[in-house]
Each structure stands twice: as C-alpha cells, then as structure tokens.
Symmetry: C2
Subunit: 352 residues, 2 copies
C-alpha cells in the first residue's frame, strides 16, 4: 500500500528492493505519481502481459468532496460483494473523488529480458506475428510497432542508424521477461527462428548484449523528441480493434493526404493492445481542429476510442461524443452529480 | 459478440470451432449462461492466468429499467474515455441493469494441457510453490489446493483411491496450457523436478496419459458431491490475501472445533487467487447462522471477502456488512436509486 503522491519510479524501486515487481512502465516514470497513474488508468509498454493500471490495483482509498472516506484497501484478486466501487475512480481523472492511497498488485520479479527487432513489408505479417508470439511465448511483455515514417525521424533525432538500411515498411520491437535460465533464451531464439521461417517477419536484429538491446529501445522511446522535431503537430492516441487497424490507417492516411498534402504522418504504437499513436506533423495550427474532426470521425466509424491510454482531460473533451453515446454521457454526468454535486473536483475536465 | 442467453459451454465450443479460445470454465458450464456469468463476475478454474469474467469481457449491451439501451459493445482492450461504465453492471447481479449482449475477449487456443498433483505437509510450501510456479511457468493456468479432509471425502464419493496413500496434509493440482511442442512438456518436467528438489513439494503424481490426468481432476471436480455426502452443510466462498491464508484457516478451524466439535471442515480452493472454499459439514441447521457469523467475523478481521466468486444473491445479503463499510453500502444503494429507482430489477438481492 502506497500514498498516491509517490512517484512511479520510486514505487517500482521500492517494490523491487523487496524482491517483487510492479510492471507499470511509461516514459513519464520519473515524474508521474501513482495516484495520477490510477486516476488516468495509465497504459504503457507492458499492457499486453500485465494489463492497464486498472488491472494492477487491488484496492484504493478515496475521499469524496463531502469528506466521506471510502477505504477500499483490500488485498484481494477476487471479491464479488456487489459493485466494485474502485472502478468509479480509476480512469475518471479525479472527477468523482480523490484517490489518496493505492494497494498495488505485485508480480514475481523478472530476472532477465530479451528484446529483438523484427521487420516486414506487409501489415498482415504484424497480426500473424502477434498471434504466433502470444500463442508460443507466454513471457511476451512488449509488442511495439513502428512504421517507416516514424523510424526515419526517430533515427534522425537520436543520431542512430535506420535499422535494416530502411528496407522495410514495419518494425516490431518484441520483448520477453522471465527467470534467468538457459531455457528462456532458447525459447526466444526458437521463437525468432520460427517467426522468420514461417514468414511472420522478413528480417530480424537480435541484440548480442544489453547495450545493443537498449539501442533498439532508444528508437521507441524517442517518440516525444520525434514529434517535437516536426512541430507544430497533433498527437493522437487511438484505440482500434486490431483486425480493423490496417483499414483504419489506410483511410486516415488517404484522407489526410487528400486534404492536407503537406502534413507528415508518423505512426507507432502498442499494437498488441490495439493502441495506435498517430502524429500529424508539420501542420498549420488552423488545421488542428479540422484534422481532429477528420481522424475522430473515422475512429467513430470503427467503434474505436479517441483515447486509448492518455485520457480525456481538457483537450479531448470536445471530441468525447465521437467515442461515447448520448446515453453513456448522460450516465457519466449523473454519476458526477451524485458524487461531486458542487462540481468541486477537477471541473472542466472529461465531462461537464 | 454473443447474446447473453447463450450457455457457456456453447459459447466456448463456438469460439473453439473458429480456432480461438474463451478461457472461462466452471462446474456449471453446461447450464449457466454467459449473461449470468458476466452479471455475477464468475471465477472458476483459470482465473490465475486469465482473470475473472470481468477481465474476459471487452464490451456489453445493457438495458436500464427506463428502457434506455446502453450500447457498449466495443472491441477495445484500452479505452480511457472517462468512466468505464461496464463495471456498473459486471458483478452486480442485475441490480442496475440487464445485460443483453456480450463482446468476448478471446485468446490463442491452447493445443496441449499438462497436469500434475503435488503433495506436501507444510502450508508454507504451498505459497513457495505458487511463487516458484508463477515465476518460472508463465503457462500456468490452474493452481488448485485440496486439504486432506477434502481429499478423503472426495475419494470416497468418487470411488477413487486416496492419492499418496493419504500420507500428506495438502495436495496441489497444477495445470499448464500452451502450444503442442516438445518444449512445453520439457518445461513442465523441469518445473516438477525443480519443485521437488527445492522442497516446494514432498511428492508428485505425474500422469502418463490423458486418462490419468482426468483422474486427478475428478477429485477436484467432486466438490459438490463431497458436500452433499456430509449434509447438512454450509459452503463458504472466502477471499483472503494469500499471505494471511494459513493464519485465517487456523483461527477458523480452532474456533469451530471449540464451539462445534461435531462439525467436519472440508477445505479446498483456487489458492492462486486467494479463494478458499470451506465447507462446514455434518451440521445441525440451528447452527447455520451462528457459524456464518463466526466465519465472517474472522473474515472481516483479515479484510477478506465473504464471497470471492459466487456473489451475494439472497443468502449472503445479511452478511454483506462484514466485507463492506457503511460508506460503501450507502454508495452502492445511491447508485441503485439512480439506475433502478423503482427497484424493479432483482429486488431482494445484494442490497436494499
């Protein structure tokens, strides 16, 4: 159980010093606080294996605006005593109550990680690789996809070489976590060999040491710098069912190319989770709202989410109706009136 | 996406016929319906790996008493557009709305299963075995614990031999699921050898074929017959943090032995999930309520749940306050008033 003000990186270090593991990991690890992670239901790099923050929380303590303290600090994986009230406060960005303490769900500490970068030219290979990886590698912890137009900028801002001399359209960063045993490395080698043999990928870079492995993650972690290098930009955080992802991307890219030929699209994402990060870069600021409308209209048609992991906050509030029906918005607002009747908490965010 | 009236076993067969896997499995698989599984947040044999029903549901459609249809049939693992409304209806036993359709979360279809029965005399070995299994066997799908007093009755009602000639206090049924490859069996063999060598268990039965494997599950699946063989009985479904499980059991057994020396306790459970099934058998019916009070008072002291997977319904309603604070009960009731103001849905269950 930790106080909500603790910084995520300190939480992880504290847990690991006790020989356990809290798997939440994201770029802001050094500054974000665990209470914020819970109230925004943060995602990050290991959702594929461990779930979002919602899945990593056993219990919370919440204070309501009228001073009521809800102590729900239970250490239980299974608890079927009616409504699981913690879900009213997880991912609702402080609109219904303030999270003051968090009971974490811990996991065995992984002793070793192995990463590899695979490359391919057909999008269908990405989905077949993911299915193959999930079926054969239960240790799979990350499956991060980067498009050529993302890799080019990321290599530029980090001063790295473009992998495979830029010969491929798609790059998948795969990572597994497990105990330190020869079997883990053998399993990973066997997975990579089979993936290439069965043509789920056309090429692979298999790091020979930790430095080479870190070099692969540098490209993935450069997303913020890559965006800024092509400002002004919009950063989208779209959730789309994986089976529709390819069609969705084609439609978005075509629509943007048609009406906004100067915009550069960078694409990367936690594809294992159906989470695509699209950056529309080198924009004119007057195009911000029309481009958002364009992308969110297509998202709505695919029953997607306008924010898979970053949350609504202030900026996405005007677009919430693209992902939520009138009936849902009404119910969210009714619950706001019930729990936060004077609108004293985080007014202006998520919903009115 | 399936209609809520579909029987669970048919759901699983339909999914498997399309080469996918829906991992929910419980004794009532042939009669329970998926809508009921979702509205009671069913648990079962594979929670350890796949989570409860809540984790297996991507979206639902709900009808409120005023006729409002909430279509939340999204196929998204990640969706951070404010309050995740489906949690108002999952596990709330129809008190807030009626689930009419369910969008299932599917997994790669496992090709092989391996089971083994391990035995030990110290409870601490169970927790060390679980930690070892979770760390080294990501394919782990079941970790079912049976006490000697449960095994004895289960062997009797099924006409089986007591395993290991009854030499041990505790029996753990371990199962893994994965792809059909020599490595899976080798991994399982290595796990069993190491578990014995490192004294996480004292003995093991490793089935040599499917019939022998099924014979192990027969003992676990005989829980309903075992209870009935010692009627009248009470069946408890307790959630307790695993680290407190041993102390909790000692306290309950001592308290019952002291005041009710004729009662026989049978113990088994999904221990990997902190879920203990305690049966108090050969009772007098006038002792039902005092024994419930006794067990639930101890549960409350350990911040446990009076029902880990079976739900509150009618029978456990008078005892809900042992697991929920006044503030929580008030909020559950306020949300009932908001969504189901005329108390038209499932009146008399869970909360007033």
């Amino acid at each position: 159980c930790v106080e909500s003000g603790m910084v995520l990186e300190e939480v992880c270090q504290l847990v690991e010093s006790k020989d356990w593991y809290f798997p939440l990991d994201l770029g802001a690890r050094g500054s974000c606080r665990i209470g914020g992670n819970v109230s925004t239901n943060a995602g990050g790099n290991r959702v594929l294996r461990y779930g979002t923050t919602r899945d990593l929380v056993m219990g919370i303590e919440v204070v309501l605006p009228d001073g009521t303290v809800l102590n729900m600090l239970r250490r239980l994986i299974k608890n079927n005593t009616g409504l699981d009230l913690k879900h009213l406060f997880i991912g609702t960005e402080g609109r219904y109550g303030i999270i003051t303490k968090v009971m974490l769900r811990l996991f065995p500490k992984p002793e070793r990680r192995y990463s590899a970068l695979l490359a391919m030219n057909n999008f269908a290979q990405i989905t077949s690789l993911l299915k193959f990886a999930r079926a054969t590698m239960p240790q799979l912890s990350s499956f991060e996809v980067m498009w050529k137009n993302y890799i080019t900028v990321a290599a530029e801002v980090t001063g790295s070489a473009v992998p495979f001399d830029g010969a491929y359209q798609y790059y998948v960063l795969v990572e597994i976590e497990g105990v330190d045993s020869p079997r883990l490395e053998e399993d990973f080698q066997a997975f990579l060999e089979n993936a290439l043999e069965q043509e789920h990928a056309d090429d692979a870079i298999i790091p020979q040491n930790i430095a080479q492995s870190q070099a692969l993650w540098i490209l993935r972690d450069a997303s913020a710098e890559s965006m800024r290098a092509r400002a002004p930009y919009l950063a989208f955080d779209i959730g789309i069912p994986l089976k529709d992802m390819s069609n969705f991307i084609d439609e978005v890219e075509e629509a943007i190319a048609k009406d906004y030929p100067d915009i550069e699209c960078q694409l990367f994402g936690h594809l294992g989770d159906g989470n695509l990060h699209l950056t529309t870069a080198r924009m004119r600021e007057e195009d911000f709202i029309p481009v958002e409308e364009l992308v969110y209209q297509i998202t709505q048609r695919y029953k997607g989410s306008i924010t898979a992991e970053h949350g609504i906050g202030v900026i996405k509030k005007p677009f919430l109706h693209y992902s939520r029906s009138e009936e849902e918005l009404k119910l969210m607002e009714q619950i706001r009136q019930l729990l936060n009747p004077d609108n004293a908490l985080n007014n202006g965010r998520v919903i009115d």
